[in-house]
């Protein structure tokens, strides 16, 4: 049985900030939800089901917050799900929402992913010490930095590649009114001059901690056809592997490669770099851009990624624009970040990305990963209804 066609007809997000002290958690979600519904020309009463995504409950200190939020999100009286797949959650949540439509269970699904990190402290929530263990763990950056070092060694990358990505993404963010960081004047030089946090990752190569939310309205074929510019879902994939295993490739994980291969096949894509017009890839530390470019198949392994980045190939006017929204490097409400990637990809193919629009984008990739580079969620959206 084939999946029924589904499309994104509404996308909304909050103004992401370090602290959104003007809203409660419900208010944060509703800001994104109300924008998405307005975009879709719908109201909460038109929604059949709601899917909430969020990263660890410890961030906000509320266990299963979708329960207290149910009424505020317009979910009272409806089916409500809450997905949690670590950092990839925003993406996997969108995929679960899409599957409700693709399976023919519902016609109009609202999905929202959020994080209100200012309620606590992200580093604390990620580093609660486990007894008997060595407390060398130093947050996400400390976890990934050794693997970035491995990539640099494997690929022979020059040391400024991360800075190229950071300068690009932070500059792109200036064209995204919703982005958290609007840092003018970020250059390769300024990034290289910023403090080394977890050698080899520098301060300006690191994502911020943000409060923010993203919401999508995903609908069935009939509803999509009545919408002016739907972003049709061409493929969705999730793959997972263990955090650590003997000889597990931490730089180019098998789950990532498998997910990408399955995704391109579903979406009928044989050459990603030629057929994808814009990519929103989950890059929380700048070096992940070249790493994921290779893993996703945009470039050859062991060096193709950094060469593509270095050549300007991932700039807005490059061969494969990556993170025109500014990406995770510019806004990182962890639970929402995956959905922001998926949503920004949809904005591109709808021609609705405003000042960070890639001209003529018809097919785009949304990508998210989580945990110790072990959970992957990706989708391809297109301006045209899929034919397969």
């Amino acid at each position: 049985m084939a999946k029924q066609p589904a499309a994104v007809v509404g996308i909304g997000q909050t103004h992401h900030r370090a602290k959104r002290e003007d809203v409660s958690m419900a208010g944060l979600c509703r800001e994104a939800i109300d924008r998405a519904l307005a975009d879709a020309g719908m109201t909460l009463d038109d929604v059949d089901a709601i899917v909430v995504g969020k990263a660890p409950d410890l961030f906000e200190g509320v266990m299963m917050p979708e329960l207290f939020l149910a009424e505020s999100l317009g979910a009272a009286g409806k089916p409500l799900l809450r997905v949690h797949t670590a950092g990839s959650v925003g993406g996997s949540t969108a995929i679960v929402a899409a599957s409700l439509v693709q399976a023919g269970v519902h016609k109009r699904v609202l999905t929202v992913a959020y994080e209100k990190q200012s309620e606590s402290n992200a580093m604390w929530a990620l580093s609660v010490p486990v007894p008997f263990n060595m407390p060398v763990h130093a947050g996400a950056g400390g976890y990934f930095a050794p693997h970035v070092r491995s990539y640099i060694r494997r690929s022979g990358a020059p040391t400024h590649i991360g800075a190229i990505v950071a300068a690009k993404d932070r500059t792109n963010a200036l064209r995204n009114p919703y982005a958290h960081l609007h840092n003018e004047g970020t250059t390769v030089e300024s990034v290289m001059a910023s403090q080394m946090l977890w050698d080899p990752i520098r301060y300006d190569e690191t994502c911020p901690s943000s409060d923010g939310a993203c919401a999508l309205v995903i609908v069935d074929e009939d509803t999509a056809k009545a919408s002016p510019n739907p972003a049709w879902i061409h493929g969705t994939v999730m793959r997972s592997e263990a955090t650590s295993a003997a000889e597990r490739d931490q730089v180019n994980p098998q789950a990532s490669r498998d997910a990408a291969a399955a995704l391109w096949k579903q979406a009928g894509i044989t050459s990603p770099i030629d057929e994808i017009d814009a990519a929103e890839i989950y890059v929380p530390f700048s070096w992940f851009e070249p790493m994921w470019l290779e893993s996703l198949g945009f470039a050859d392994a062991n060096g193709g990624g950094w060469r593509l980045t270095e050549s300007g190939g991932t700039a807005m006017d490059g061969r494969i624009p990556v993170n025109c929204s500014g990406g995770v490097l510019s806004s990182n409400p962890i639970g929402a970040s995956g959905m922001l990637r998926f949503g920004e990809a949809a904005l591109q193919v709808r021609g609705a990305a405003g000042e960070h629009q890639v001209d003529g984008a018809r097919k785009a990739l949304g990508h998210a990963y989580g945990g110790g580079s072990q959970f992957f969620a990706m989708w391809v959206v297109g301006a045209a209804r899929p034919t397969n």
Binding site: D57, M63, L81, R82, H84, V128, S240, T243
Partner: protein, 350 residues
């Protein structure tokens, strides 16, 4: 809709599990049992989904290590919900309905004894005006029970009857943690603990884990003589407020029951961690007196957090496999005072 059936089920329940809160060592034998029941190996499983809560374990990402129990190289198609096993099953059923996969294993685990459950669950409430008072689940259920008693919708005798029947039936359940029927009089003679509730009106705090196996069409027929075909699967949620709801009702249970279709159900496993809640659910799900409720003993005999709802579905499915019944129902609840509910109706076909 594709024909999807529950074809495997395994569970473990104990008062206190002394191992890691990630419960990996509990899960390995559960998966082995599932493989024995189906004849599968892990490569036959198209999709995995788990249910658990970080707050039960006391750490972020506590579900991640459980993935070790699967054996995830090569990588697997896998997801997780911070909800009961029943909702993990829902996500897996959905995945099968999309046609992407034909088989799934869902699992859940929870070590409530790692913390103080009465305090931990206070975090599941509205954080500004409820949690700072640290209301515990027993108190919230007690408030609900009182309203029904005050308005004459149920009485203490009816609650004691639920308990006596449950604990008597639990004697036949090797997994039950609390068992042993007595009599309604004996139960009513015991002192109230959290007035109006007596200790036996409340599910015991239990650790445990469980797994369910789903398969579509012929894949189900290949591994099971009498698959428990899912004819209805629906869930819904109400607002959380203890003030704006009629606490003697559970509209979300009614909606889920109506959508799933409860007519003709012979056996119903209802997830009722408090005795009066069984009375509410019977009514909301339109179950007549002829329906056998909780032959397993139900949650009053054991309530491992995050698997208890799914265990109801497994127990209901078992009655079909054994030929004891042709149409059964498994129900799961979440949130205070029956706020969120899921209903799964299954049938056996000759």
């Amino acid at each position: 809709m594709r024909d999807v059936a529950v074809v495997g089920f395994a569970q473990r329940q104990m008062e206190e599990f002394d191992g890691s809160p990630t419960c990996v060592e509990l899960l390995v034998p559960l998966f082995e049992e599932c493989y024995e029941q189906t004849g599968w190996t892990r490569t036959d499983v198209g999709f995995w989904c788990s249910g658990s809560s970080d707050y039960l374990a006391g750490r972020s990402f506590s579900f991640v290590q459980a993935v070790d129990a699967i054996g995830v190289i090569p990588p697997v198609n896998e997801s997780h919900v911070e909800m009961d096993l029943a909702w993990a099953m829902y996500e897996a059923w959905l995945k099968i309905q999309t046609g992407e996969v034909d088989t799934a294993v869902v699992y859940a685990f929870g070590k409530s004894s790692a913390g103080v459950l009465r305090r931990t669950l206070a975090l599941q409430l509205e954080p500004y005006t409820m949690t700072p008072l640290w209301p515990d689940t027993v108190s919230l259920a007690g408030l609900q029970a009182r309203v029904g008693l005050d308005t004459g919708q149920w009485d203490e005798r009816a609650m004691a009857e639920v308990v006596n029947r449950s604990l008597t039936d639990a004697e036949k359940n090797e997994y039950a943690v609390r068992k042993g029927g007595s009599s309604v009089e004996e139960l009513l003679a015991r002192p109230r603990y959290a007035d109006p509730l007596r200790k036996h009106d409340c599910a015991p705090v239990t650790d445990g884990a469980a797994a369910l196996v789903l398969a579509a069409g012929d894949r189900a027929r290949e591994v099971c003589d009498r698959p428990a075909w899912i004819t209805g699967l629906a869930h819904s949620v109400d607002a959380m407020s203890m003030g704006t709801r009629d606490l003697t009702r559970s509209p979300s249970a009614e909606r889920a029951g109506t959508a799933a279709g409860t007519a003709g159900v012979e056996v119903a496993e209802l997830h009722a961690p408090f005795s009066h809640q069984e009375l509410i659910l019977r009514r909301e799900l339109a179950l007549g007196d002829d329906v056998a409720v909780n032959p397993s003993g139900g949650a009053l005999a054991g309530n491992p957090m995050f698997s208890a709802g799914g265990i109801r579905i497994g127990e209901a499915a078992r009655r079909i496999w054994t030929g004891d019944a042709t149409r059964t129902l498994g129900h799961a609840t979440s949130g205070p005072a029956l706020q969120q509910n899921l209903v799964c109706v299954m049938e056996g076909r000759s």
